[in-house]
């Protein structure tokens, strides 16, 4: 009987309040069928306003050139690349949750994976904006693609980490999108088959590709998900590794270190989980999904946050140690003077980063704080501020004082259009997320049903009795049940 699978009583239930299959469908699909709330409209309109401001900022940048940004002699990459790395980092949690936790057979991922994957896709979309618009002459953007052109034939440089990034980010985006959408098909079919309105039947019929739920299709679907997860796992690690290569393969003090790939990946997971927390804490409240995104889910994610935050902390300390131990004067100066020294022009940002990323997440060693929603929400924002400053510290403090003291520029501060661009990506991100939460099932309906009999609280309670009895008796009972 493959249906009866033992699940430890020690594990708390993942679905609360006596759900059956139909109730699961009702709860998760209801927000799609209802009219959006006033809160939804307010959030959505603010996001669209931010997006429009971003569009105008980009318009300025395209029309008048990159000079609209306060970049200077040594800081050719300022806020834009900081934002790029920040968004890409955030985009790591979704695939981590859906792929790596699938391979590790973590049941709790089912409650959060759909929203986290959507978040990944939107975050990568935001990230992609920065390198594209930073090109200045954006109509030449296709030059990054390897195509046989009329100039030579001149090809792109396959040895350059910047080109690796083009491949890594675009592959990551495509694969995440496919993974997300193939998982969505059965749930869209659920919405389609419940639909009463004509347009909804039409739209979801179109989107669900004619999914029927045939056993053979499920078998292929499972196999597809498993292989996609297996491939996304090294992919998600490779993407931020390649992003870190953009820095690590250069000879700039503070960047030229071999620790970068694992350090960036840990930081990405750290910030990604923080963003998942921010979004899910809001979503579960607004869409009343507290039974599916339980306090257990939030606690588990806080554990991941304290773990990855500490890994990032170890990386910071290792960097400091190596900059002293390596005895390279430029490297040592970059760390001791440009970062560690709180009285240097950017010393404050280094210590802000330390405080937000390493020190403050340590409060999650306490169970009470891990299970406190207000603390969690506050911390999730703090972590993302910290992780933004990490990228800012890495980028700006390494290049504002380069090898040539005559070109040192003491202060780099962004122009309003740089800030506008950044705010615009927030607009893009939240506009997409609001639309997603209105039109798509925020929780994977089929996957919740799949774990319901093992992890729903009503089924777990039923298991108490069984557990006390001997295995022989249990075996006997199952067989007599079916005959």
């Amino acid at each position: 009987m493959s249906l009866i699978r033992y699940e430890s009583q020690v594990r708390p239930p993942l679905v609360d309040n006596n759900k059956d299959y139909h109730q699961v469908t009702e709860d998760i699909v209801r927000p799609i069928e209802a009219n959006p709330s006033r809160l939804w409209w307010i959030g959505f309109l603010i996001s669209v306003a931010l997006l429009l401001f971003g569009v105008y900022s980009i318009y300025r940048e395209v029309t008048y050139g990159v000079g609209q940004w306060n970049l200077n002699k040594t800081i050719g990459w300022g806020w834009d690349i900081t934002n790029f790395v920040w968004w890409v980092g955030i985009g790591h949690a979704g695939t981590l949750i859906s792929a790596i936790l699938l391979l590790f057979r973590q049941g709790w991922r089912t409650g959060v994976n759909r929203a986290a994957e959507a978040m990944t896709i939107f975050a990568v979309m935001c990230a992609g904006q920065f390198p594209i618009w930073h090109m200045g002459r954006v109509w030449m953007a296709f030059f990054v693609l390897p195509y046989g052109n009329t100039r030579g034939p001149l090809w792109v440089n396959f040895n350059s980490p910047l080109l690796w990034d083009v491949f890594a980010i675009s592959t990551y985006f495509t694969v995440s999108l496919l993974f997300w959408y193939s998982g969505l098909l059965p749930d869209l079919a659920t919405v389609r088959d419940r639909a009463k309105l004509k347009w909804r039947k039409y739209m979801y019929g179109l989107l669900s590709f004619g999914w029927t739920g045939s056993t053979k299709h499920w078998q292929r679907h499972e196999s597809l998900s498993l292989v996609l997860a297996g491939m996304s796992t090294p992919l998600v690690l490779s993407v931020h590794t390649v992003v870190s290569f953009d820095f690590a393969t250069s000879v700039v003090p503070g960047w030229h270190t071999t620790i970068f790939p694992p350090y960036f990946v840990a930081g990405a997971i750290f910030s990604g989980f923080a963003m998942v927390q921010t979004l899910l804490l809001i979503s579960r409240k607004v869409l009343s999904l507290e039974d599916y995104i339980t306090i257990e889910h939030i606690e588990v994610m806080n554990k991941v946050i304290v773990l990855t935050g500490s890994i990032v902390g170890v990386a910071y300390l290792t960097e400091l140690f190596i900059s002293w131990y390596g005895q390279n004067p430029n490297e040592g100066w970059a760390f001791a003077q440009n970062r560690l020294n709180i009285f240097s022009p950017y010393g404050w940002s280094y210590w802000l980063m330390m405080g937000c990323n390493v020190i403050s997440p340590q409060i999650f060693w306490f169970r009470k704080l891990r299970r406190n929603l207000v603390v969690t929400f506050f911390m999730s924002v703090i972590v993302n501020i910290g992780m933004w400053f990490e990228r800012f510290v890495i980028i700006v403090t390494s290049i504002y004082r380069d090898y040539l003291p005559s070109s040192w520029s003491t202060y780099y501060s962004p122009s309003i259009w740089e800030i506008g661009f950044y705010l615009g990506t927030f607009g893009l991100f939240f506009t997409c997320y609001f639309l997603f939460s209105k039109f798509f099932p925020v929780i994977a309906v089929a996957e919740i049903k799949h774990i319901l009999k093992r992890s729903g609280d009503n089924y777990k309670k039923g298991m108490h009795q069984i557990e006390k009895e001997s295995a022989d008796h249990l075996y006997h009972e199952i067989h007599s049940d079916h005959h």
Partner: protein
Amino acid sequence: MAVKKFVVGCFDEEGPLFDAVKKVRKSGYKLHDVYTPFPIHGLDKAMGLRDTSIHTAGFLYAIFGTTSMLSFMTWVFTKDFPLNVGGKPHFALPAWIPITFEFTVLCACVGMVITFCYLCQLAPFVKKHHFHLRATDDRFVMVIECTPKTNESELSSFMTSIGATEVNVQNAETGWWLGRYDKEQKLFEGQSETVSA
């Protein structure tokens, strides 16, 4: 594509499905399919379906990705446009590993998803016959195909005896057609009657 007659039985729980499938196969009825709202592990084995080889297809796409990208970069940097960058080797294998890896994953994933959609006949505007609308919600729908020899009422009562809570007979198109879900677009004249509830 053909219109066939089916006896459709709905189950409320997935538990009885296994025994039911076993009994259907034993009694020689032609099991068309079982439609479920979520994957039920082991049901495919119970129904006697063979394992899917979609992962093998994925492996082949991956090999295609690896070899094509590596040979393309080799051709570009050693034959077509050998650029001398500080005397570094033209055939710079270590530097090509990231792109080769990414392209391998890209080919495997895109290829597999397309193969999946092709095998399961999934695409926008594709429409199929749905035996029960709650098969994507909370019902487990077993469909048995009627052959000329089949006695429908016997089969229906057999369906009830193995645990189906709702049984009916449907004429249905087995394939897919282009259509919209907001319109009744059947390619055939069909009748559906409920035998027992």
